[in-house]
């Protein structure tokens, strides 16, 4: 218990210091609250609009998690193909890199044209944003496998794909999971982009749209409250995946108990 406190306390202390400084700056500095709301008014919004923010949060969280799952599935397959086939590497890799630079707004209308107002076009946007870190880390992790371990599989007469399954895949797992954690953090901002760029129907449109609407209507404090929810969500996701990694790959005690 005390150890856990030791891990959490520094972050809490830093957050407290920032909030105090921010509060003082807004109160004493005469900052326009529409530009920068004080922490206490953000907290007030969190309290008053809690239910509304929560409903929007569930929409966004669903998008992030499903988008990540989609991108993990596609990214993982792509990484394995790239790893096993130099031809595929040469064909796919440059495009994976280039795709990172294309603003989603360019092709978002087409996604909506194909798949309408539902959740799917948003998942595609998130998956596109998460794809790159997943592919790169997984390909690197697969390439970093000890070459003697592969020689071992050869002297034991394992066919290529079985050697892959028995040796390369498990040894690349921790690296691939690190990629997933990076992707998760990126995926939250991906959800904001997805919501901003694709049309939506429904009562609750997600925190991304919510933030845009609040900013347009000068409800800056609520936009901050919504951003705070996303902030906490990204942290929670990141550390949850750390726990998953510990379960799936307990042999890598890389950080001696730390989750990051």
């Amino acid at each position: 218990m005390r150890r856990r406190a030791a891990y959490v306390l520094p972050a809490v202390a830093l957050a407290t210091a920032v909030v105090v400084a921010w509060e003082l700056y807004v109160d004493l500095g005469g900052v326009d609250p529409f530009l920068l709301p004080a922490p206490h008014s953000v907290a007030g919004e969190l309290w008053n609009s809690g239910g509304y923010l929560w409903q929007n949060f569930t929409v966004t969280a669903e998008e992030v998690l499903l988008g990540l799952a989609l991108s993990l599935a596609v990214g993982f397959v792509a990484a394995v193909v790239i790893h096993l086939s130099p031809l595929a590497r040469r064909a796919i890799y440059p495009h994976a890199v280039g795709s990172q630079a294309v603003p989603i707004a360019v092709f978002a209308p087409m996604l909506a044209f194909w798949w309408g107002f539902g959740i799917f076009p948003k998942l595609v946007v998130i998956a596109l944003i998460c794809f790159f870190p997943i592919v790169v880390t997984t390909v690197d992790a697969l390439a970093a496998v000890d070459p003697e371990q592969l020689d071992l599989m050869r002297t034991l007469d394992a066919p290529r794909l079985r050697a892959f399954r028995l040796a390369e895949l498990p040894s690349a797992l921790p690296g691939a999971l690190s990629g997933a954690r990076i992707a998760l953090a990126v995926g939250v901002i991906g959800a904001y982009i997805a919501e901003s760029q694709t049309p939506t129907s429904g009562t609750y449109t997600g925190l991304g749209r919510e933030i845009n609407a609040d900013l347009a209507s000068d409800s800056t404090a609520r936009a901050y409250a919504a951003a705070l929810v996303l902030f906490l969500f990204a942290i929670a996701c990141f550390y949850s995946l750390g726990l998953v990694e510990r379960r799936l790959a307990p042999w890598t005690r890389r950080h001696r108990g730390e989750l990051h």
């Binding site: 000890d146 371990q149 034991l156 040796a167 790959a249 890598t252």
Partner: protein, 317 residues
Amino acid sequence: MPAPPPSRLSAPSERSSGASASAPALEVERIAHTYRDRSGREVRALENLWLTVSKGEVVALVGPSGCGKSTLLKLICQLTSPDAGTLRGEPAVLMFQRDLLLPWLHALDNAALALRAAGRSRGSARAAARPLFAELGLDGFEQARPDELSGGMRQRVAFARTLLSGKPLLCLDEPFGALDAITRMQMQSWLEAALLHRPRTVVLVTHDVEEAVLLADRVAVLSPRPGTVLAELEIPLARPRARTDPLVAELRERALRALGLDAARAGATGTAGIAGAAGAGTAGVAGAAGAGGERSPGPAASVRGGGGVHPAGLARR
């Protein structure tokens, strides 16, 4: 230019006359291997190396570090191919210098990896590995993760994995090189017993001359890089062998002399290791080669030149 095999220091058929009727387990003829690194620099690891191993024979390879012993085993196990020469023989499996246990598998599954590599299911591979596991003195440690095992136990798991591959020719690359002296001695007795119990054809690489004499039927002494067989030494002693047996000590000294090392001095440095003597060893070899004798065939000259060793008398005492 095919060169003749180095003169064997004993008649080849002497010990293994029974086995010589069938084809040998391994025939290495005139092989050479050169590594090229990225900058194009070449390292000649092996040159004009000949070696024959009969079925059921244990042959130890001793030689200074970097002389190409691991390379030779990789060639025998067909993990790389030679630049020149031919290799014929039975399927060979390599036990690497590092144990290469997979950290995500517990000990039993690491041993059973050989069977899973061959396509067996996890359950049947485990079941088949279990008896051997007990036989090698590992029972009770089936569920241990590799990092919970001692160095000696890790080597035993790696050895179990090697045996379970089912291949008739075992290539063991300094299996006990990384162990402390006491554990190494225990493991040598253990391997001797294991091989008595299940005889196999073995090529054992070691830098420990005493280990070679204790475990092998024949010791092949390699030159510094590029490695080639300088001398072969039959070890016609009954098993189990005792470290304290004066015959063991004598053969050990002969092997050391074949390596170009002053036996009395090397013996004084401890566990009769070339590794231990390697630093001094290179100096010793150069010294043996005579004035300014670079890396020319110093030790060979000292052996064949009859520097105290009489070829005919070596194996047959």
